[in-house]
Amino acid sequence: MMPFEYEQAQDPAGAVATVTGRPGAAFLAGGTNLVDHLKLGIAGPDLLVDVSRLPLDAVEPTPDGGVRIGTNVRNSDLAAHPLVREQYPVLTQALLAGASGQLRNAATTGGNLLQRTRCVYFQDVTTPCNKREPGAGCSAIDGYNRYHAVLGASEHCVAVHPSDMAVAMTALGADVVVLGAAGERTVPLIDLHRLPGDSPGRDTILEHGELITAVQLPPLPMARRSTYHKVRDRASYAFALVSVAAALDLDGDTVRDVRIALGGVAHKPWRASRAEEMLRGATAGEEAFVAAAEAELEAARTLSENGFKVPMARNTMVAVLRRLAGITGDAS
C-alpha cells in the first residue's frame, strides 16, 4: 500500500475544492471498494479526503412526491427506509441483493454508484488492463469473461458495472446531484456512467473533484409494483450474472407503462428502452414479453464464456414481467 495523506472533510464545498486542486487526491466514503484498491495497488492516491462524516445522510420526501437520498446514506439504511420500501420496493430489493450485510452497513449511496468493475484483470496489477492502464490491452476479451458485458462493450473493454442499486435507480429514472468547483449540477443517472468506447479508463462523466451529494428519485406511483431479480452463482455475496429491475403499470391487460433496467450486461446500468417502447400499449403476456426482451438483446455481442447471458437476460426479463403482471404457473 502506498503511503498517503488523510484528511476529514469539513464541508462539501471544501472537500471539492481540495480534491479539485490536487490531481492525486481522491474522496473516501465507505471505503468498501477504494480500500481494496489501495491494498491491491490499483489506486494510489496521495491524499484521501474523507467525506463519509459529512451530514449528507438524509432520506427525505421531495415536494413533488419523490425522494432525495443523501450521498452518505448507507446501503443498509436506504434499503430499510420506509419511504423506499413503500414507494420503490425494487430499490430495497436491489440493495439487499448486493454484497453482504457487513458491506452494506459500510457502503454509501454515492460510493455504490462510483464503485469500479470487479473484472479480475482490472483487479490484478500483474495483468494488462486498458481500464487501469490505457493502451495496455484487454485481458478479458480472450480470457476469463464469464461475467463480462454483452451490450455496449468495445474492443478496448468488456467490463461490467457491478452495482445492483444503480440498476434499480436507473429503472426508476433517478437523477444524481453533483457538486463541482463551479457549483452544483444535476445529471440523469442514465448518463452518469459511460460506455467504454476507446477510453475505458473513465467509468463516469464526472470531472476530477466532482462529488456526488445526493440521488433524487422522481415520483413514480407505478414503482409500488416493482421488483428486482438478480441471477447469481450463489445465493449471497456474488455479483450478478444478469439482473433485472422492473416496474409495470397495467390497464387491464394492456401495458400502460413499464420500466426495465438490466445489470451485469454492460459497462453501465442498462435501461432497456427498446423493450419498454415495444411493451407500452401492448397486451401483457408471455408473447409480448419474449418479443420485447429479444428486441432489447438484438444488439448483444457475446464473448467466449458469456454467451449464456443473452438467453439468461431474456428469460429473466420474461420471468420478472410475468411476476409483475400476476401471471403464475406454467405458460401454455
Partner: protein
C-alpha cells in the same frame, strides 16, 4: 479385535473445551502469538509461469524507511537440502510457476513490507509454459504410485470384453476443476532464529501437525529435529493445505535468519494462498460401466487424467475408491499425470475420494436410469460381500443401511421422473450418491500421562484444526483413565510434547486416541488407580491386530434436493441429508459439525468452487473470496447429518473410524444427480452453474 474401551464420556455431546477462549479472542492463533519487536515479511512473487530471473532491482524497496532487508535468491541464506523443490525457496533463479516466491521484504510494519514488495522490480528470461490440463496434453506420464502409496493402475478380469458384451453401458467423461482449500485462517508463521537458545528455530505455525512440520523443515534448514520447536495450539482450518509445510514456512525461517534475532512474522494474503499453499488438482475422469439388464455390474473402468507440478509430484488417488466401492468381476482403474508449469497440488479434504466419487456416482445414476432401476436399488444390487480388490472381509460395510435409512428420512419415495416436478418458477428434483472413506490410523504417535495436582496431564503433539481434538481427545483420555473429563489436562500442538502424526486422512482421532488409550492403560498398569504426585508413563500407538485382516472403511449415503429456476437456470440445494456409518461417534456435537461441514464443502464443490487458471498468464485469476465462490450461509438451506449407532471393534479401542472427510465425499454427485432429476439436463462438469441450464430451458417452460 482391539481391546474396547468402556464408555462414560465418549458418546456425550461435551461442549468444545476451547470454545469459550475462542469466542473471547483469547485462543492465540499462530500470527497472534505474543512476540517482542517483530519484523514483518511480504513476499515477492513471480509474474511469469516459467523462466529465469535475470535481474532484481531492490533499490527503491531498500530505500524505503522501515525496510529491514530484501531477500532474493542472490542473498538468501543457503538451505542444506533442496531436494524438495517446493521448499527450495530463493535458492536459484529458476521460475517453475507463476506466483512462485522470488523475493521478500522484511520491514517494521506489514504495510511498509507490502509497499516495498511492490517496488521490487524483477526481470525475467521468460520461457514458453503450459498450465492447462487437457486430455491431449503432451505432458502426461504414469507415476510410480498415487497418494500416499497406492498402485497407480489396476486391471482385474477383462474389462474391454465385459463392456463389449454388457447389456447396458454407460460411457461418459466427468470433470472436476481446480479447487483451493481456503481455510478461514490464512497460512501464517512466526519464526524466531536463535542459534544460542534452547531451539535454533522456534516456529509458531498454523499447521495440521507440529511434528510433521519439524520433521520436514529441520533437514531443509540443516538443523537437528531437536533444534526446532513448532507450536500450534489453535488452527482456523486447514482442509489438507496445512498438512505439510509449504514454501512460506521456509521463507519465514530464512527471514528470521536475517532479522538479527527479531521474530519474523508472515501471514499470506488470500491471493498469495492461491499460488503457495496447495490445491486440489483438476480431474478428467473417463468412466465406463457395463451391467446386465438387472443392473448387476459386469465391468467398471475409471481412467483419470490429472496434473502435478514440474518441480514435485503429487498424484491424487482419484480412482482408488473405485477399487472397493462396488462388486464387478472386471475392474480397471488408471491415473495419468500431466506435469505442468503450475504450483504443486496437494491434499484437500478427502483427496482421491472427493473428486473420485463424483464421476462414478453420477455414472451410477446414469446406469440406474438406463436399467430402469431406482438408483438406490442399483447400489444395493452391487454391494460387495468382501473387498473386491483384495478379498478381505469388511470390518463393517453398512452402505445399504445408510441408503435405506436415508431414503426413509428423506422421503425418497416421492421422487418423480426427471423434469416432472415444478413448484412455482422452480423445477425440483432429488438425487442420491454413495459416500466412503477408509478408516485409517498412522503409526508412530506417543503420549505421556502424568499425575499432577490431582489431575492427569495427557500430553501428545497432536493438532486441533477446528475439528474438536481438544474436546474429543479429552473424552477418550477420561474414559481410558476412568476419570471425569475435568480431571484431564490435555496438552497438544507443540513439538515439546510427545510425537504425533499429522491431522490428515481422518486418522487423527484413531491414531492419537489409540495412543492415548495405550498410554492411559500403561499408566494404570504401572501406577494403579491411586497414583502419587508426579507419576508418569509414556507409551506409543500399538499395532492394530485387525488392520491387515479386515478392510476398514466408512460409508455413507448422501441425499440432495435441488431447485433449478425454470427461467434463469439458477440452482440451489434446498435440502441435503447425509447418513453415515463411521463407527463409534466420540462426540455427537463436534461430529455433527464435521459431517455438516464436509457436506457443506461438498455442496460448495457441486455448485460454486472453481479456481480459474488463465492459460496465458498461468495463475488463478479469481483469487479472492469475492470471485472464488464458497457456499454462503444463504446457500446452505436445510442440511442434516445423522449416523448409524454402531461401533467398529476392528478399527481401534474406541470403535471409531474417523469422520473428518467422509462428509464431503459423494455430496457433489448427489447434487448433480438431483439437478438431473429436476431438469432432465445431465451436467457432468463441476461446478454446476446456472448457465448449464439456461440455454436448455425454453423461455416458455411447462
Amino acid at each position: 479385535m482391539t481391546d474396547q474401551l468402556s464408555l462414560a464420556s465418549i458418546g456425550e455431546p461435551l461442549a468444545r473445551l476451547d470454545g469459550a477462549a475462542k469466542v473471547q479472542g483469547l485462543a492465540p492463533y499462530a500470527f497472534e502469538q505474543p512476540v517482542d519487536d517483530p519484523v514483518y515479511l511480504h513476499p515477492v512473487q513471480a509474474t511469469v509461469a516459467k523462466g529465469r530471473v535475470t535481474s532484481i532491482d531492490t533499490e527503491r524497496a531498500q530505500a524505503l524507511e522501515g525496510v529491514v532487508a530484501v531477500l532474493t535468491h542472490e542473498n538468501a541464506p543457503r538451505l542444506a537440502d533442496t531436494s524438495d523443490r517446493e521448499l527450495a525457496v530463493l535458492q536459484s533463479d529458476e521460475v517453475a510457476f507463476r506466483g512462485q516466491l522470488v523475493g521478500a521484504v522484511l520491514a517494521e510494519t506489514s504495510e511498509i513490507a507490502r509497499h516495498a514488495a511492490s517496488l521490487v522490480r524483477v526481470t525475467y528470461d521468460e520461457q514458453p509454459h503450459d498450465v492447462l490440463l487437457s486430455s491431449d496434453s503432451d505432458r502426461f506420464y504414469t507415476p510410480d504410485k498415487v497418494n500416499p502409496s497406492f498402485p497407480t493402475d489396476t486391471d482385474d478380469g477383462d474389462v474391454e470384453a465385459a463392456l463389449a458384451s454388457a447389456q447396458v453401458r454407460v460411457d461418459a467423461t466427468y470433470t472436476t476443476p481446480t479447487e483451493h482449500n481456503n481455510p478461514m485462517e490464512p497460512h501464517t508463521s512466526i519464526a524466531i532464529w536463535d542459534p544460542h537458545g534452547e531451539h535454533t528455530l522456534t516456529l509458531y505455525d498454523s499447521t495440521q501437525g507440529v511434528h510433521s512440520v519439524r520433521k520436514a523443515l529441520a533437514p531443509v534448514l540443516g538443523l537437528d529435529k531437536s533444534d526446532v520447536r513448532v507450536v500450534s495450539p489453535y488452527v482456523g482450518g486447514g482442509f489438507g493445505s496445512k498438512g505439510t509445510p509449504h514454501a512460506h514456512n521456509v521463507l519465514v525461517a530464512l527471514a528470521a535468519q536475517r532479522s538479527e534475532g527479531r521474530p519474523a512474522k508472515l501471514a499470506l494474503t488470500r491471493q498469495q494462498m492461491f499460488a503457495l499453499a496447495g490445491y486440489r488438482t483438476p480431474t478428467i475422469q473417463h468412466v465406463r460401466l457395463g451391467a446386465d439388464d438387472q443392473g448387476r455390474l459386469t465391468a467398471i473402468a475409471h481412467d483419470v487424467d490429472e496434473q502435478t507440478a514440474t518441480i514435485k509430484e503429487f498424484a491424487e488417488q482419484t480412482a482408488v475408491a473405485t477399487r472397493m466401492m462396488y462388486a464387478a468381476p472386471n475392474r480397471r482403474t488408471s491415473h495419468r499425470l500431466a506435469a505442468l508449469d503450475v504450483p504443486v497440488p496437494s491434499w484437500m479434504r478427502a483427496p482421491g475420494e472427493t473428486p473420485g466419487m463424483f464421476g462414478p456416482e453420477v455414472a451410477m445414476d446414469e446406469l440406474a436410469e438406463a436399467c430402469g432401476l431406482d438408483p438406490i436399488e442399483l447400489r444395493v444390487r452391487n454391494d460387495p460381500d468382501r473387498h473386491p480388490g483384495d478379498g478381505k472381509p469388511w470390518s463393517s460395510r453398512r452402505l445399504v443401511d445408510c441408503l435405506r435409512e436415508g431414503a426413509t428420512r428423506f422421503g425418497w419415495v416421492d421422487r418423480r421422473p426427471p423434469g416432472k416436478r415444478r413448484e412455482g418458477e422452480w423445477l425440483v428434483g432429488v438425487g442420491v450418491a454413495s459416500s466412503t472413506y477408509p478408516g485409517m490410523a498412522i503409526p508412530g504417535s506417543e503420549a505421556l500421562v502424568r499425575f499432577e495436582g490431582g489431575r492427569y496431564t495427557v500430553a501428545i503433539g497432536a493438532a486441533d484444526i477446528g475439528t474438536g481434538t481438544w474436546t474429543t481427545l479429552t473424552q477418550i483420555a477420561a474414559d481410558a483413565l476412568g476419570c471425569p473429563t475435568e480431571a484431564v489436562n490435555l496438552q497438544i500442538g507443540d513439538t515439546n510434547l510427545p510425537t504425533a502424526s499429522v491431522e490428515g486422512g481422518s486418522s487423527g482421532m484413531s491414531s492419537w486416541g489409540s495412543t492415548v488409550v495405550a498410554a492411559a492403560r500403561a499408566f494404570r498398569e504401572e501406577h494403579g488407580t491411586d497414583p502419587a504426585e508426579g507419576d508418569q508413563t509414556q507409551a506409543g500407538m500399538p499395532k492394530n491386530p485387525d488392520a491387515d485382516t479386515f478392510a476398514i472403511h466408512s460409508f455413507g449415503a448422501q441425499f440432495a434436493e435441488v431447485r433449478v429456476h425454470a427461467y434463469t437456470g439458477e440452482i440451489r440445494a434446498s435440502r441435503m441429508l447425509g447418513v453415515f456409518s463411521a463407527g463409534r461417534i466420540i462426540n455427537p456435537s463436534t461430529a455433527r459439525s464435521q459431517f455438516i461441514g464436509g457436506m457443506t464443502m461438498g455442496l460448495s464443490m457441486a455448485l460454486h468452487e472453481q479456481s480459474v487458471r488463465d492459460p496465458r498468464f498461468g495463475h488463478i485469476v479469481n483469487h479472492d473470496f469475492a470471485e472464488y465462490h464458497i457456499a454462503t450461509n444463504a446457500d446452505v438451506m436445510d442440511m442434516e447429518a445423522t449416523w448409524l449407532d454402531e461401533s467398529d471393534p476392528h478399527a481401534n479401542p474406541m470403535g471409531s473410524r474417523g469422520i473428518g472427510e467422509i462428509g464431503i465425499v459423494g455430496a457433489a454427485a448427489a447434487v448433480a444427480n438431483a439437478a438431473y432429476n429436476a431438469t432432465g439436463v445431465r451436467v457432468r462438469d463441476l461446478p454446476i452453474t446456472a448457465d448449464r441450464f439456461v440455454a436448455a430451458l425454453p423461455p416458455t417452460p411447462g
